[in-house]
Symmetry: C2
Subunit: 357 residues, 2 copies
Amino acid sequence: MVARRGADRGDGASAAGSRASLKDVARAAGVGVGTASRTFTGNGYVGEETRQRVLRVAEELGYRPNRLAAGLRSDTSHLVALVLPDLTNEFYAVSSQIIHARLRDAGYQLLVASAGTVEDEKKTLESLIDYRVDGIIHVPASSGSRFRAPCPIVELNRRSHSPGIASVTCDDAAGFRELTRSLLDRGYRDLALIVGDEGLSTTQERIAGFRDALGAREGTAHSEDTVHSGGAVHSRVLPGSYSADWGHRACLELLGATDWQPSVIVAASPRIATGVALALTQRGIVPPRDIGFASYSSPDWFSFWGGGVQTLLPPLDQMARRATDMLLGQLSDPTTLPSSVVLSGELRPGGSVRSIG
Amino acid sequence: MVARRGADRGDGASAAGSRASLKDVARAAGVGVGTASRTFTGNGYVGEETRQRVLRVAEELGYRPNRLAAGLRSDTSHLVALVLPDLTNEFYAVSSQIIHARLRDAGYQLLVASAGTVEDEKKTLESLIDYRVDGIIHVPASSGSRFRAPCPIVELNRRSHSPGIASVTCDDAAGFRELTRSLLDRGYRDLALIVGDEGLSTTQERIAGFRDALGAREGTAHSEDTVHSGGAVHSRVLPGSYSADWGHRACLELLGATDWQPSVIVAASPRIATGVALALTQRGIVPPRDIGFASYSSPDWFSFWGGGVQTLLPPLDQMARRATDMLLGQLSDPTTLPSSVVLSGELRPGGSVRSIG
DNA sequence: ATGAAAGCGCTAACAC
DNA sequence: GTGTTAGCGCTTTCAT
């Protein structure tokens, strides 16, 4: 038991009140700081015997490296920033969990920040970069924001369309096209789409996919009234926000309209779906008996409500995994060229749409 | 792309590869680094004229402070660690959001980590402390873990019962006592409680509150069969895990039992409630007509399912807010003594329990 | 009010 | 293999 500086107690209560430093360890082990450093970093050679001694002394002194100092010196903080719009959102909560686990395994810590607005976003990113993060995983608030960072960035779910930035997204256009098509195939001719913020690229894609399918066979996309084989097709798109409240209000509006009623409602997010479910319940409307109900993503209550709904499932897990792996790849090999990965959602037939016609 | 932002003005001899440092700014502004530093930190005196010049030059050079270096030197990283079991859990997602917003306003960044198991927990906390975090907000994995950190800790939702550690919790025992009592008052005499991991202090509290109410008037707490004014009371407690799957399995087991059937089921978490709802639906049992249904916390589908349920609402927002404020308080004034705050849940009468008897 | 200088704890280059 | 040394970028005395 080597007692120096009175720092042999486990709680690191040395004279100055601070914890044992590498220098303390080196001195107590009778080696130079360089050797001690090499013991922990693994860079360079250290004799096995010395190594053990350093390790033992470090243990005794309760030594813990100061990663602030290490980061400052080596210019690699082992910090990764995760910037997203809202931790409360199921999508991002799941993503965070996956990203965190993977980064942790790779020896990184996660600096998390949520930035709702576009102004916030730049400030947030800059503050995070002030900590010299090694990389960033970012769910952009808007498609316009162009941001140059001094480290690799991977954009998740949404793209800012900045050149040379890696991204992992889901092909919502294709997904909604497929979903809408399947609705048409089942005989639905009056379709309503309740969707979120029009400014988001994902919203635009979802609307595009929806309209695309409606107009596809007639070549008259983007028209609210299209003619479909087997009868005239009517549709309505209600953009608002990705919230239960909007889903609720929009659905009530649809149901209250006198000129036109949808035979199937498509909720473009799980939160919107929750609002729609509430509105339908309040009106005593039971899908799929009285109306068709389809949704993007699947909240847990789908398991027991109304016999299920037709759902389009985004590959959440895969997206988060891919994004993390791409970032890790760029970190380990900076020459890696950033790529854009587009994954596909999975259409899962549910019971809340029935075959008519 | 090799060229970076650097000394595009003729006077600076800064390194071409990295970003402008305080030294660069000082030189370009014709002042010493000390003055430049004081300009940004606000510590010490700087002439107004000089201040403006430094600020302008910094802007021109795109100077950003290196918070790793600042933290190393000043021993205040402006980093706060948030350690919790699961980001996916609604409770913790909401908490994270609130905590993040508040800390951000106070000038701190959030280092988030989830640590499911007890072994994980210590490692996670240590890695986080290696970054010299100024404080920690912690949802302990177990009640036993005793951990000495070199910085203030506030425990959220659960307590490790370590001496001298601040905590913000909810009085689950009182809440469940009240909830159970209200069920008894409505005439229910056969009560089942489906709850999570027995090892957690919160679980123990919930069970205790439940049993407490059952045995209260007869003084025979902790008995499975108690006599209550107005008839014999039977009860059953099913501990498992806080998951929809356990709620589902436990509920099916209850419904399948031949010896005894509950007249009301209490789900001790929203996830468990989801599983219970699924089981009831599968069996064609509709609350509150066929059975009573009460739950802790209120998932969004309560708004439209089965006419509502009797719920006990934990004050999530307040808890997160208080925890953050307590930490911030300790950070700004280290002499603040850590305190334990216990908040109360709110009992909200719902429609899935009916009055019988 | 300001500059010079001494480190914070660590890594990396270099000598031996 | 190992010790020594020079900083990383910043804050903070301490003289002016």
